[in-house]
Symmetry: C2
Subunit: 313 residues, 2 copies
């Protein structure tokens, strides 16, 4: 199969690239503008002749159109990674989440490519407290432009799949952690503690509680769902049904970094920033019924990712 991976040098994208390379019949084109992805992530795989890198922007439709030709399957990971930034740059996710996704499916349409896997997220569900959201949950009332962009992109993919006979798999991820992470709480906390090892500023009151999933589980889930779910539009939550708080994560990091007497300083409030969803709970019946379950729970995923990050950072 010839795969086209947007954001292929980013966090989840690069993990997918390495996984796909394990099958010797696969060829991969990475399309990335290195806005949050990093060259170092894909250095190793670029040694493989089956991998091609195109440094390009998804907002550049003519380049995208030329680059995507003759591929069989598109993994669309590229997106803005800085959720809080849309408070000051309000059109960031419109551009990097919605218009880019339109460009991806439009380039697919022009070139007759039918299959796409899209990385959506729990942000589309909005702020619904401890309600376990299934894929059928509504109303979808996102509280961040990131969430809104995922919702708009899902809608565009869904419309194109109907109008132009495409086959999409839409994945609504929990917080993904692990190797080659470029952002996120563990990433931030480690960087802060390396700068100042006795004090850690924690956004919010630390009780924010979410589902975390290790990127290896995410890759495994995606490939399993793509293989086993063949509906017209396939929408799946990909998460763990366990949860961990921000303060607990901070404690794990302190322990893994072997630090002593770190003072936690809370900025206060129930959430990290405006647009942050403090409590995230998933109903995972659909993907469990399909036969897939995460290997690592939230605590294990976080702990493993911290160990991995400490080697990288």
């Amino acid at each position: 199969m010839k795969y086209f991976v947007t954001g292929g040098s980013g966090f989840i994208g690069s993990n997918m690239v390495y996984k796909l390379l394990q099958d010797k019949n696969n060829y991969i084109t990475i399309y990335d503008n290195f806005s949050s992805g990093q060259r170092s992530h894909i250095e190793d795989c670029l040694k493989d002749k089956r991998v091609k890198l195109i440094e390009g922007d998804l907002l550049n439709l003519p380049l995208l159109d030329r680059s995507i030709k003759e591929h069989d399957f598109v993994f669309h990971f590229a997106a803005n990674a800085d959720i809080a930034k849309s408070m000051i740059e309000t059109d960031l996710d419109l551009k990097l989440g919605i218009i880019t996704t339109y460009n991806v499916v439009e380039a697919m349409r022009i070139n007759g490519i039918k299959m796409i896997a899209y990385s959506s997220g729990s942000g589309i569900y909005g702020d619904v407290g401890k309600t376990k959201t299934s894929e059928n949950y509504g109303p979808l009332v996102p509280i961040s432009m990131y969430g809104a962009s995922k919702l708009g992109a899902e809608g565009i993919i869904s419309a194109f799949s109907h109008l132009f006979d495409m086959k999409p798999w839409i994945f609504r991820f929990a917080n993904v952690v692990g190797k080659r992470q470029t952002h996120g709480i563990g990433f931030d906390f480690i960087r802060k503690l390396k700068q100042e090892p006795t004090r850690l500023e924690i956004l919010g009151d630390g009780t924010q509680s979410k589902s975390y999933i290790h990127v290896s589980d995410v890759i495994d889930a995606m490939l399993s769902v793509i293989k086993n779910s063949k509906n017209k539009v396939n929408i799946f939550n990909v998460a763990t049904d366990s949860y961990i708080t921000v303060t607990e994560i901070a404690k794990i990091i302190v322990e893994e970094m072997e630090l002593n007497e770190v003072k936690f300083v809370y900025t206060g409030g129930d959430r990290g920033w405006k647009g942050d969803v403090p409590i995230v709970r998933f109903d995972l019946t659909k993907i469990h019924t399909l036969g897939w379950k995460a290997k690592y729970n939230s605590r294990e995923a976080i702990t493993l990712s911290i160990k991995e990050l400490l080697k990288e950072l």
Copy 2:
């Protein structure tokens, strides 16, 4: 109150403008590019000094920003009216539904305007057969770019409302018919029959069955909901819980036009065009519980609108 009405010279928009003018304390700015709206629709109201017209495009954010200043409330009606066209011009609804809506809320944010009523539609629910969709229905899998643009716009409005403390009312309309209609089935059938009074081409097999609502009911519903629902985000279906088929509509038109022996020629298939949702059913519990109910059922709304259209066309 100072109202800003996008698409104010269009079908539903102009009806809202006339209604708002009945309260002598209201001032209205119509913002329209006349792409589907018509000057004749607002000729009468422009004689009123409380009405100001700005001929402008919602894609022109600087003009929109200047124009929207010092208004209290935004009615956002402007959108692409030709749903089928996105098959050939695939970015039409992206531009005229999603980016324009982003521009509207962005201009509101810049100017500190908090209240917006948005005309969404049943298209966000996708093709779910006879399932009665409530406002909580999911998953939202639109089959047209029109539906996708409504979903994306809802998401953006929802995100802005949270991030910048706006208060939105989102209305998911059935097929709206009535005075100053600029498109739609009755409009098309009358034009076709005026050209060729013995033969009517009907898209699909004629069994498509949807909810129609008269524009006077829509205006009434919107104002009633805005007055009585004060949640953070207010989402309401606005429809009738009665249904009428395309063939029945054709028969009503033939009767109202006093034609004889019109041959109905069906193009066949279960729907009018790709992206058309053939069966639409609403769960109206939410708006009925709030105390609002449509005055006209689907058949009455269609019949009344045909009489009105025959005077106009």
